[in-house]
């Protein structure tokens, strides 16, 4: 008996140890971050359960915030309005590092190889590059434009293949292609007069095209990253030019790209509609009338549906478009102020941030019924860790 125990002891101990530490094991693949804008905190959530795991506080002004993930999905980098760049450890529920890198910031991106973090700033206008590991500053690129060298606010910053970043200058009316192969000495290629006041941009999931939405005039500025020497093309210049312009109560966000067939869906600025663009020739294929001014038009990962939320005063509504025939198949009323939507990696579920109801709601994307709700303090953005593996997010 004694001998048996003695023989099995070496086996037993690791098993016991494993049982003890089992509760602490956490895989990053089903984690996410929910931004709580008023108190400057972020929840770490499990997207499979779904459940809140912890709350990270002290992230500063998150009245506008975005998140990218390290390539191993262990860390979330949170870009705050106040220029804060926070590195959150999703495994240990703690703030790993935090710096204030500018006075006023709008968002950021992580390089193709995961080693460089880029931040786009309003004040001082420009882009800064940081070491993803240490957050040491590697380079500063002031967004100088015009003859008197003014600084422009920088928007629509994304990563692109070839260790590059792309961004747009709101007042400068330019698109900049930044080569960060040597991140201490980035090379900038500038495209001027791309259209008035680019407000945000998107990258196609294959990294081929960069499209910036224009606030100061109709249409989008399009850059083919396979052939940047061809310059920026202005598309959809003529759509709705005879329509009355309505005031814009919240800047739309360009993020999400529907690849069912060859369609790009973008919010029509100042109008109650989504534009469907045929990406084979960049012509306007149709306009889908909706319940309000779209803010986010997010494609389900399989491209079959697009979910749309709206600007004030219609932000209690969410509409679902079936890409098969571009019809609105459902109008949901999740609650007051739906600010953001995020799909699970394969799209069977979507999470909605409902700010004024202090909750996050989860919907089944097939039945379009609510399946769960989680408490959150004035939630705004929702970001899942599978973004780590996607270009341009």
């Amino acid at each position: 008996m004694m001998k048996t125990l003695f023989n099995t002891l070496p086996l037993l101990i690791p098993m016991l140890l494993a049982a003890c530490s089992q509760a602490d094991l956490r895989a990053t693949g089903d984690l996410g971050v929910v931004i709580e804008r008023e108190q400057g905190s972020a929840q770490i959530v499990n997207t499979s359960k779904p459940a809140m795991l912890s709350r990270i506080e002290g992230l500063g002004d998150l009245s506008h915030a975005s998140v990218v993930f390290s390539r191993d999905q262990r860390y979330a980098y949170v870009f705050g309005r106040d220029g804060g760049l926070s590195k959150v450890d999703l495994l240990q529920d703690k703030l790993a590092k935090r710096i204030i890198q500018a006075g006023n910031s709008i968002g950021g991106a992580i390089s193709q190889d995961g080693k460089v973090i880029a931040v786009s700033n309003y004040t001082p206008g420009g882009v800064k590059l940081f070491d993803a590991d240490t957050l040491e500053q590697l380079a500063e690129i002031p967004a100088l434009y015009g003859e008197d060298n003014k600084l422009s606010k920088v928007v629509g910053l994304v990563d692109a293949p070839g260790q590059r970043f792309v961004c747009s200058l709101f007042e400068g009316n330019q698109i900049w292609l930044i080569d960060a192969k040597n991140p201490r000495q980035p090379q900038v290629q500038k495209f001027q007069n791309i259209g008035k006041q680019p407000y945000d941009a998107l990258l196609t999931p294959d990294g081929h095209f960069y499209a910036a939405g224009l606030f100061g005039e109709k249409g989008l500025a399009l850059l083919d990253l396979w052939q940047p020497e061809q310059g920026v093309k202005h598309i959809l210049q003529d759509y709705g030019k005879d329509d009355a312009q309505t005031p814009v109560y919240k800047m739309p966000h360009l993020e999400g790209w529907t690849v069912a067939g060859n369609w790009l869906l973008v919010p029509a600025i100042g109008r109650h509609e989504v534009l469907v663009v045929d990406t084979r020739d960049w012509s306007l294929a149709r306009r889908i009338p909706l319940a309000g001014q779209p803010v986010f038009v997010m494609a389900r990962p399989d491209g079959r549906q697009a979910w749309v939320n709206f600007a004030f005063p219609d932000n209690q509504t969410v509409q679902v478009i079936d890409i098969k025939d571009f019809q609105v198949v459902k109008t949901l009323q999740p609650g007051k102020a739906v600010l953001h939507m995020e799909f699970s990696p394969r799209g069977e579920a979507v999470w909605l941030a409902v700010r004024d109801e202090d909750r996050v709601m989860v919907y089944d994307t097939e039945t379009l019924a609510e399946t769960a709700r989680l408490p959150a303090q004035k939630p705004s953005g929702i970001f899942f860790s599978n973004r780590a593996n996607q270009l341009g997010l």
């Binding site: 804008r37 008023e38 002004d61 009245s63 506008h64 309005r81 106040d82 006023n104 709008i106 309003y122 004040t123 606010k153 709101f170 407000y199 606030f215 005031p247 814009v248 109560y249 919240k250 800047m251 004030f312 005063p313 102020a337 700010r355 004024d356 004035k378």
Partner: protein
């Protein structure tokens, strides 16, 4: 002493101009979150300029009320008169001028 009724009348008018407490909460929420989406929270500025007391000090009430009610041509600021009465706008401007964002 004879004019105390007049004072009472003034007070009454001042109170009547103020939005009720429920509406004040709605307006504050709107200021933090809807205005805040461009101006920041606290509103140190973003796409829109700072709305902190020191940033508003050299701007007169008429200009601020007009900017909120009618928007600012050539900028991203939309008109809010469809959603805010003049009294509510005046109340918001007064609130912004006196607000201590760090400690309130």
């Amino acid at each position: 002493m004879r004019f105390i009724w007049l004072l009472a009348l003034f007070c009454h008018v001042a109170v009547a101009d103020e939005p009720n407490p429920q509406r004040q909460r709605e307006l504050l929420n709107m200021l933090k979150h809807d205005c805040g989406s461009c101006h920041g929270l606290p509103p140190r500025g973003g796409l829109g300029p700072s709305l902190l007391p020191e940033a508003l000090a050299d701007k007169n009430d008429a200009m601020l009320i007009d900017a909120i009610q009618n928007g600012r041509a050539g900028s991203a600021m939309p008109p809010w008169k469809q959603f805010l009465t003049t009294d509510e706008t005046v109340w918001l401007v007064r609130l912004l001028r006196g607000k201590d964002w760090e400690n309130d």
